[in-house]
């Protein structure tokens, strides 16, 4: 419990949950990219996930817990940190930090808002019920037609734009977050820190391109129903 009041302790919680969430982002990206195989790819992937039964719920609850901890301590630490400088500089010039690092709380909250929307859209079918797997006919093999749902959704420019905007937030968040979590976990030294900064940015860019390539391909008509 003492750890959850400590400066380094809470930072470790941010890093450990952050690491798991980065893992989730990568797995999610790999899963999503099955859409490039076509309806057979992503529908089979979705069918496989749902066949896991109770494991799906275990996974969802763990993920919710990770998100909750990351968000709670992220907000708490940000509030403490801004209170630590009650009178601001008239002129302050930062030398080393990055735009991504300075905007962590904003990109984090943007990602949270997007995740809520994303679940309402694709999981709970609240925002666009007319394009949801419950309404659309099953595919030829009798599976939920996730492929058609995704393609019809991203053909709406507005939905694709929200998605792309959220991925910019994710790009910025990860560009600082990945190297930062390894530093916090104490895994870096003077030599490896600059390397990890580059790796972190590269992973962020790859994730951004990977996710955004899906709505872009759909809007360009490269993937169609």
């Amino acid at each position: 419990m003492q750890m959850l009041q400590s400066s380094i302790g809470r930072k470790l919680v941010m890093a450990a949950t952050g690491l798991c969430l980065v893992g989730f982002v990568i797995v999610h990206l790999l899963g999503n990219s099955s859409i490039f195989i076509g309806a057979d790819g992503i529908n089979a992937y979705a069918e496989h996930l749902h066949s896991l039964g109770p494991l799906v719920w275990v996974f969802r609850i763990v993920l919710l817990g990770l998100f909750g901890l990351h968000i709670f301590f992220g907000i708490q630490l940000t509030l403490e940190n801004s209170a630590a400088r009650p009178i601001d500089y008239v002129e302050k010039q930062n030398i080393r930090t990055s735009f991504g690092a300075e905007t962590m709380i904003y990109t984090g909250l943007a990602i949270l808002a997007f995740v809520v929307y994303h679940l309402l859209h694709f999981t709970m079918h609240v925002t666009n019920p007319e394009i949801s797997v419950g309404v659309l006919p099953l595919d030829a093999l009798g599976r939920n037609d996730v492929f058609t749902m995704v393609v019809l959704s991203f053909q709406k420019f507005f939905i694709s734009a929200i998605y792309a905007g959220a991925m910019v937030a994710l790009l910025l968040h990860l560009s600082h977050g990945i190297q930062s979590l390894f530093q916090t976990l104490g895994l870096l030294n003077g030599k490896t820190l600059p390397v990890m900064e580059k790796i972190g940015r590269a992973v962020a860019v790859v994730a951004f391109i990977g996710f955004v390539s899906i709505p872009v391909s759909i809007l360009l008509g490269l993937i169609k129903v």
Binding site: S6, L12, E80, S82, A83, R85, P86, Y89, Q183, G186
Partner: protein
């Protein structure tokens, strides 16, 4: 060279402060930054005005007493240089220079550019020492320390406690100051005995003193006049993880 200064003037800890404009005329490029301020102050005194208060002591770049935020950067534009070792040749004729005190809730302004940094002492008091019995001076090689460890500890011990890391940190955190001490002692046999309590107590004292938390902006390392590395923060994080079970 002629310069325009915008300086934070504040009469006391509870007074309201504001930026005021001063002209520094005929400044020699070979004078140090503090000598330039001395000349401005002499003119202020001659005119019956209160001189600009600023902290300084050794003026050799080793004591850690001086320091103000110059054009938005603690200790000014030259890398790894204290304010007293900054020379006016780093500036150009006609430049405008802003001068502000270290800004942090834990560093209340005493007067003008002088802040109270005793919060750093509280962190040291919480564990920046060893309780080993010292007694007589021991034999020179009584406790053998490998050269790489000695060098590592010396690099961390380069910290002069000026507080530029706090001033530079977007979160007003003293993590680099704290971790330099934690890391320095963690590699030395004398320090290892109390390593677990030290990292816990010193980081707790950091929060109690009103400093912020580290979010790895690395502004501290960039502003540090001694180039103390953020690798010591990673080292202290490792020390904290090791101490969790104890």
């Amino acid at each position: 060279m002629d310069l325009t200064l915008y300086v934070w003037r504040q009469n006391g800890p509870d007074e309201k402060g504001k930026m005021e404009q001063y002209e520094a005329k005929n400044v020699s490029p070979d004078s140090s930054f503090l000598e330039m301020l001395d000349e401005v102050n002499e003119e202020l005194i001659a005119n019956g005005e209160l001189p600009i208060e600023f902290d300084n002591d050794c003026r050799e770049g080793i004591c850690g007493t001086c320091g103000c935020v110059i054009n938005g950067v603690p200790h000014g534009p030259q890398e790894k240089t204290t304010t007293c070792q900054l020379h006016m040749r780093q500036f150009n004729d006609g430049d405008t220079i802003t001068l502000e005190p270290w800004r942090a809730g834990a560093f209340p302004v005493v007067k003008d550019l002088v802040v109270d940094r005793s919060a750093l002492d509280k962190i040291i008091q919480a564990g920046g020492y060893t309780s080993a019995y010292t007694g007589e001076v021991g034999e020179a090689n009584q406790t053998l320390i490998p050269k790489p460890d000695a060098d590592y500890a010396m690099d961390a011990a380069e910290c002069i406690g000026c507080g530029a890391c706090v001033a530079a940190c977007p979160n007003g955190s003293a993590m680099l100051f704290t971790c330099a001490k934690v890391a320095q002692m963690a590699v030395l046999p004398q320090g290892q005995v109390e390593a677990a309590e030290r990292v816990k107590n010193m980081t707790e004292a950091l929060l109690n003193a009103g400093f912020g938390n580290c979010t790895n902006h690395y502004e501290c390392e960039a502003a540090c006049p001694k180039g103390v590395s953020v690798k010591f923060i990673a080292k202290s994080n490792r020390e904290y993880i090791k101490a969790l079970g104890k």
